[in-house]
Symmetry: C2
């Protein structure tokens, strides 16, 4: 595996691969790899000839009071994990090269960046969109793999590449979980034992919602109430948001029709965790609704 620090070396490597007509899949990360990251890398390896993993703890997507400085870092460990997973190249540029003196150009995806995580993290998605565009322009991958845990990020990036004509295929990877259901996250390392128990409330709340929908309840207020109640029954939890709405527009809905996104952000102690699931209205429910409206399928 090549470890590349300089932007110009990265470009040269990409050019060589392009000349050999090799396809490139990219996995942008902030490092401190867990099985979720490794799973994205394996998917990338199955889909393309070469896999580039970028490792960049992006200051622009952290708010002033967020955890930029204590965000976990371990380049040596990450390099070994990436190499063992079959990655072709680990690209870890310096902050001073990515944001040189006088840097002042920002990419904003207006509507999709608002609401959900955008409410409590107002410049977060500006930082995400800008760094991902820069990485795509430098590496020119054919495809890039993103975890579905950051669902809003995934939709922001999908919209950005469409709007800016960046020729990269965005592939979503399902959330990878611990055996008990906790979604993998580098931030899980912040949790103590008691907090680790409370952190499970997110996954459990998603399951409660799934069961409600499966049993025919499609009322958004009722589902949100049950989700909140469950999370609040755990110690040291503070809900940032519970969102239920359209997976593409990220606008809230009043009833679940077809497919809806249930997304959570919850503080557990000083750690902010997110999780989500797609709630699917059952086929027989759709039938019932149409019947109640008097319009048989």
């Amino acid at each position: 595996m090549k470890i590349i620090n300089s932007i110009s070396h990265m470009r040269k490597q990409v050019l060589l691969w392009r000349q050999e007509r090799l396809s490139i899949a990219m996995v942008p990360t902030m490092g401190f790899f867990h099985d979720g990251h490794l799973s994205l890398m394996r998917t990338a390896g199955n889909k393309a000839d070469r896999v580039v993993v970028s490792l960049f703890v992006n200051p622009a997507q952290f708010g002033p009071n967020e955890d930029l400085n204590r965000y976990p870092r371990d380049l040596e460990r990450d390099a070994k994990l990436a190499e063992d997973t079959g990655v072709s190249c680990l690209f870890y540029p310096d902050v001073k090269d990515i944001y040189p003196p006088g840097f002042q150009t920002w990419i904003r995806v207006d509507g999709l960046s608002q609401g959900l995580c955008g409410t409590s993290r107002p410049e977060h998605f500006r930082g995400v969109a800008t760094i991902v565009a820069k990485l795509f322009i430098i590496v020119r991958p054919d495809m890039a793999i993103f975890g579905q845990k950051d669902f809003q990020q995934l939709q922001v990036i999908r919209r950005m590449v469409m709007d800016l004509n960046i020729p990269v295929n965005i592939i979503a990877h399902p959330i990878v979980r611990e055996p008990d259901g906790l979604a993998l996250s580098s931030r899980n390392t912040y949790l103590n034992m008691k907090e680790r128990e409370s952190a499970l409330s997110l996954f459990q709340a998603l399951q409660i919602a799934e069961k409600m929908v499966a049993s025919g309840n499609i009322s958004v207020p009722e589902i949100i109430r049950a989700v909140k109640k469950h999370i609040q029954s755990f110690s040291n939890t503070k809900i940032d948001y519970v969102f239920l709405g359209h997976p593409e527009s990220l606008r809230p809905c009043r009833e679940i029709v077809g497919e809806a996104l249930l997304a959570l952000a919850v503080w557990v102690g000083k750690t902010r965790l997110i999780d989500n699931t797609l709630l699917k209205q059952q086929a027989n429910q759709a039938h019932q609704i149409d019947k109640s409206k008097g319009s048989e399928i």
Copy 2:
């Protein structure tokens, strides 16, 4: 000359040229070509194997009360002029393809977009930066030629390609003028005979400033006063701004040291015209200043 309307066809053409290892120079335009445009195209032809001229009247860079609808258009005439100038490809995408439904991604170059034209045209440079980035991503030129008449635009684009790592060499082309000095502009077609006379006040004011500097006057307030006085002596003129400052940072200065940008925006009737020049402090003046400060070179 190829005339290409579709983004995907444009990409295919570029790919063919790339496979033949041909270099590409791009000239982004809003059409209604005058000698200024043709001069950019000739420069492009001297520097690269293939020249792509884009023709797109970009709604996103017009304000709500600006001249988008009456902006002059003549595709047939433009195509003939481009072909006669040796252009390889005229790319004229549709608005609906450049800004598809749900479009919401914007590129902002923060500091450089403020002041000068940014004051009276608040979203103008956001529109410029976004369309130019999109065109660069689609056409992937090795270089792009921009007229120095839109000096602030030139600096915004230079900063943007640097900040977003877009690998394109930005080349500035000197302002092309009528024999009497009026800077060429598609908007000159709006001027009636009386306004055409008043329009000359911009170039004349620049010349007055150049003479002042040549004769040793480096006081910014005095130069601005003389420039304003000259323009206001013409009928039907209304000054939008007179800027004198650093050519790179676009911050105002108090004295001319080294090189300074003098940039003007003036309404002549209902037509807004811009012009600029670089004022260069004479070598012997720099010497005098250093002497007055007691620091001999």
